[in-house]
Amino acid sequence: MTKIKEHNVNSDFAMNFGPAHPGSGNFAIKVEMRGERVLKATADPGYLHRGFEKMMEYREPMQNAVMSDRVCVLEPLQWNLVHAEAVDYLMGYEIPDRAKHIRVILAELSRIQSHFIWYAVLSLGTGFMTGFNVAIGYRDYILDVLNLITGGRVYPAGYICPGGVRKDFPEKAENKILELLPKIDYMRKFMLKENPAWLARFKDVGILTKREAIKFGATGPVLRGSGVASDVRRDDPYEIYDELEFEIPVMDEGDAYARFNVGMQEIEESMKIITQAIDRIPKGEVKTPNLKPTVKFQQAKGEIYIRNELSRGEGAFYMVATGQKTPYRVKIRGPSFTHMIPIVEHLLTDVDYADVPAIYWSLYQCPADVDR
């Protein structure tokens, strides 16, 4: 900082990228510029802070399940799942097999639609409006199915709730999901088309080495794009993931293109998971017996840290129960936090301003889960 001021030249200035910038999505980065070059970037989180951790300490588990949607707008079902697993553990719920399958199918659908948004915002950030429109259009097909199953297009309102899921699949939901898969596959191929403009914007841009990725605590596609094969679904399996066959895509380059490519390959794996889960889904109950909307959380005692592989990386809940109606303490680990603060600051040093949106969005962030 001082160094820049000493060598102040006429073209030096500082400005904000976000939080009300159309390309930043409610997150602010202060960039110090020399001409068109970014010298230094400082993340400025907090614009979207809603205080979920504190709010959850004053609400009962079912109400918290509804609120857990909001932790990240773009992958609400997966946040539902992490929250539900934390309460399941504390309450000692046995989850019926059918509910586990439904949870996994919905979490993977949610992952796919989230990856579509990733492509959409990458396109938006680099001025490729066609890509944005097509991705959002195809995401809508998934949202229609989510609406059929959960009753809400974007927000499932705690559909994956403590003790199972709130309702069984409606009639023909499985068929509807299977009908979706060709559309998803079409979109996946569309996204992976080698487009020269796309390559020029993302190849060799924002390189994060393996060492740095580990040092800064990257997870998810960002970590796998830097050559580390780590995935909670495989390393610490939850629900039925240990019974399913799928691969973990990894790329070594560590640039924006590799991260994005890993994400796109994950769509294929998610489709495999969905097909297998639908093939094996048993009949039966979808909730633990006698589950009521008013969970008797007074019976729970102890603490738990539970982690899941969300679309953006590792998301976790820490919850303490002390025999009260509400949790004593809740802590949420959002995967975007490490991506958006240390990593973005590291990658946005000495780069062209035109590369800022490409690097920023290639880190696959969600401002909502940074600020929580």
Binding site: Q63, L148, G151, G152
Partner: protein, 124 residues
Amino acid sequence: MKLGIIKEVFKNVFTKPMTVLFPFEKIEIPERNRGEHSFDIDTCISCGACARICPNLAIEMIDAPQELKKKYPKTYPQIDIGKCCFCALCQDVCPKGSIKLTTNVFLATFDKDDTVRSPMSWNK
């Protein structure tokens, strides 16, 4: 590569658009959709469970107006749609199935008081 693009363009000229011409055409809303509530005052037993579970405190138990007091002597849920997050916990908790969320999603109003649904308003 170039031919691929041309093929794509031709294909898209002859396919239907993704969007529909609202309001002349509508996409069917599934039955499970969580939209505006419906409430049946005659089956309600005034237990207040819906008001207790509502995470947004959108439900308030109120008395019936004076002229209907005889028929409806207890308190009944008044729902403020403006505070509601459409979680359907009230529907799940209601022992009599009096509250249900419907497929009506057209809830915009010009006056902010219009968002409050009194328990009597559904019986009109």
